[in-house]
Structures are given as C-alpha cells and as structure tokens.
C-alpha cells in the first residue's frame, strides 16, 4: 500500500489517478498514524511555501511516524515538488527546519536583472539522469512539468539523481538509499510521470 500523506496541501487527485492509470490501486490519502505505520511506501506531495508545509506536517501530527518509517524501517519515500524540498535541512524560503533526511538545502533561483528568465521556473523541461537509480532506468530524453522558485542543492554529489537546466544546472531528482525526491510534477507529465510512478510502486 502506498500512503500519500494528507497534510492539507493541494489537490492530490491527479496523483491517485495516475497511479490507477498504471495499475496501482492500493493507494490511500491519509494522515492516520496506524495506516502510515503499516504502509509499504510513502509519497509526500506538496505545493506552497516551505514553512507552511512544515507547519502543516506538524499540525497533522505525522512527523514522528514519518521519521520512524523512513529512517528506521527504510520504507521507500518519494517527495514531490515542495515534498522534495521538505526532505532537506532548510530553505531560503523560511526559517523552519526541514525533515533533514537528505544532507541538502533549498535555495532560491537568483538571476540578474538582465536575465530573460522568470521566477518561478514554470513549464516543460528536459532532465538529465546522473547516478544509477531505481526510478528511471536507461538514459533517454525525458521531459517533465515544473513549477517552482526554489531548488535543492545537495552536499553530497552522490545524492543527485538527475538535473535540469534553468539558467543554471540544478538538481531536479534526489536519491539516497530509500529516499527519493522529484522537483517536477510527475502527475502532470504524461508517460514520463507514469514511468516514474510505476517504478516507484515496484520498489
């Protein structure tokens, strides 16, 4: 069973629908500690700001059980968009500490006034796979839909799973052991998102 963590952030229906589309039906949207306690995968969605996300996680009362499942039981976890940023230690966007499961921080895109690039980075973009991983296998052109103003910077290069280019080359997927993160929205990225969700469900 995949538990999508319900902490009051955004509409996750398209995530559930995409899992269904690739034949994964055992997906629940929950903040129930007993359910999170026995699921075999965790998906952490999220839109909005970093502090708001951390406060909602606290209010939902799920941080302790998430720490146990991810760090002790080693259950595979996938953070999407803000959900990936929350896996880091901190963010330029706020003052709350993150979950800190990955030795990384979340930084704001900074472009000079002469730059034609807008913030947020919004739209389709290609990604480049870096290190071997269990979510996306062979290297081939893949594009995903992005909406974000902040990006994750890892301390350890080995945690960088894929990068994309927007003014700078930035980390768009992370992986360390059972912990995965994607900055883009797989649920809005057609077959590329389906491939990722399907492979996650098989971990």
């Amino acid at each position: 069973m995949i538990a999508i963590i319900d902490y009051g952030i955004g509409n996750i229906a398209s995530i559930v629908n995409m899992f269904k589309r690739v034949g994964v039906r055992d997906v629940v949207f929950t903040k129930d500690i007993d359910v999170i306690g026995k699921c075999d995968k965790i998906l952490l969605p999220g839109v909005g700001s970093f502090d708001n996300g951390m406060q909602h996680l606290k209010n939902a009362g799920v941080i302790d059980i998430l720490n146990k499942r991810v760090l002790v039981d080693k259950v595979p976890v996938l953070g999407i968009c803000l959900g990936m940023q929350l896996l880091t230690k901190r963010s330029d966007e706020g003052s709350e500490p993150g979950l800190g499961w990955i030795d990384a921080e979340t930084l704001r895109f900074e472009f000079g006034p002469e730059s034609a690039l807008n913030i947020p980075h919004m739209g389709w973009n290609y990604i480049t796979l870096k290190n071997g991983n269990n979510l996306l296998f062979e290297k081939k052109p893949r594009k995903f839909y992005f909406v974000h103003s902040y990006y994750v910077k890892c301390k350890n290069e080995n945690d960088v799973m894929a990068t994309a280019n927007y003014g700078i080359e930035f980390t768009c997927m992370i992986n360390k052991d059972n912990i995965y993160g994607a900055q883009f929205h797989p649920e809005k990225s057609h077959k590329f998102g389906m491939e990722l969700f399907e492979n996650f469900s098989k971990l």
Binding site: A13, S14, N118, M122, N125, Y126, K143, V147, K188
Partner: protein, 250 residues
C-alpha cells in the same frame, strides 16, 4: 531551452463542450471527461478549458466540475471563465488548476487581475486577447462584448506592463472555427509588441499549418479548437489531436 507547445482549447457552456464559429452558433461536442481522457492518451502539452457562458450568465466557475477535470488531467490545466473574485483564483489553484486565463475581468476589474498576479505569480495568469477586423481596422473584442478603445498593441503593452500577465493568448475571432489557416503574417506582426510567451489560436487547419506557424513566426505555442474536436471541416465530432512529430521538432 524553450519547448514549443500545441494544446487543445476546449469551450465549455457550464455543462458540456461546445464549439463556435467566430463566436457564434455553439454546436454540441460532448463530455469534457471523455475528451480529457483522450488528450491524456495523445499526450498533449497542456489543456485550456474556457467556460464561455459564465461571464455572460453572471455565473461563478463550476468548481465541482473543474475539480473533476483537473484531477483527470495528466498535463498542465488552464481554466478561464466567470472568475470575478480573488477567492475564485485561490479556489481554482487549490483544485489543481495550473493557470487561470482572464479576459472580461481585464475590462471589469483590472485591479483584481493585478492582485492575482501579485499573489500567485505572473506565470499563473494568462491574458486572453480576442481580436477581429472591423471596418478595416483590428479591434480587441471579446465574447462578452467588451472592446478596448486603443490599438491591440496598446492593449498588449497594458497587459504586460500595467497588469503583469505572464502569458498572452491571441485569438483571431474572424478565423475561429473556420479552418481557413492560421494568420501567420498577423501573428508575426503582433509578436513584435510582446515579450512574454504567446499562444495563438484561430483557424488552424492542419499539422503543417501549425508547424509552419510555430517555427516561422516565432510564436511559442499554438492552440487548436476545431482540429481537436472534429474529424475535418464540416464533418462530425471526433476528439483527436495531430501527431506531435508532424508539428514539433525538438
């Protein structure tokens, strides 16, 4: 790298999909969910859904239906129609809409659009510019009957610099639903007055027309109406989408 885009632009009457010709004679097309499922299969880049009756009938957006459609979209989803309060923007984004298109609101309450740009970012707000020829001159004229007093270039300047929209759609009303071909020359001319990404719609008749428009005018995206819902000109309803490789070379 900016990736060129092609997307269906669906017209909704609050209950079902319809298609008009130069804003007139709405013909019944079918259920949006069915269409969205087919566009998922076709892997369209984005989807635009416009409730063309909401403003005219003084209705709010049909949030229940929009939630259902956003949940079904495996691609970015743009909604427009009947948005008249800041709460409407908030609600649409919370339902999983990526971008909100505004048109009449730019005439009735431009300050609200400015506030939406401030709150949600320019990338989330699309300014829709409908234009047609009237007595030999180009005028901005939308479905609800609002017209802009100045030139279309002045209007584009206003949308970008006073309002701050992140994207502009140019819709050629004379060509809407006519299959007479995109007006490449006009699009090229209009692009001179715009810095933000531009989507153009109105008159597309085949994949080659779309490809030529994307690569010869410099426009970022083409939206299609009739081509996405009819078999051919003057033929029956068929939810479809041209093969990507015939339109986009990456």
């Amino acid at each position: 790298m900016v990736i060129k885009r092609v997307m269906p632009c669906l017209l909704f009457n609050g209950k079902a999909l319809v298609k008009t010709v130069s804003f007139k004679n709405p013909a019944y097309i079918g259920d949006p969910i069915n269409a969205i499922k087919i566009y998922n299969e076709k892997e369209v880049d984005e989807l635009i859904l416009l409730d063309i009756n909401a403003t005219i009938e003084k209705r709010e957006p049909n949030f229940e239906k929009i939630k259902e459609y956003a949940s079904e979209c495996f691609m970015p989803f743009t909604y427009g129609g009947g948005v008249s309060k800041i709460e409407h923007f908030q609600k649409l984004f919370s339902l999983g809409v990526e971008k909100v298109a505004v048109n009449s609101l730019l005439f009735t309450n431009p300050e609200l659009v400015k506030l939406a740009v401030k709150n949600y970012g320019s990338q989330s707000i699309i300014g829709f510019v409908d234009f047609k020829f009237s007595k030999g001159t180009l005028i901005v004229f939308n479905r609800a009957g609002y017209t802009y007093k100045g030139t279309i270039q002045e209007y584009c300047h206003y949308l970008q610099h006073s309002i701050g929209v992140g994207e502009i759609v140019f819709q050629n009303v004379d060509k809407e639903g006519t299959w007479s071909g995109l007006d490449h020359e006009k699009i090229k001319e209009l692009l001179k007055s715009v810095k933000v990404p531009v989507i153009t719609i109105g008159g597309a008749n085949n994949a080659a027309d779309i490809k030529k428009c994307l690569y010869e005018t410099g426009v970022n995206a083409v939206a299609i109406g009739s081509m996405a819902v009819y078999q051919k000109k003057d033929m029956g309803v068929l939810i479809r989408f041209p093969k990507r490789e015939l339109m986009i070379t990456e």
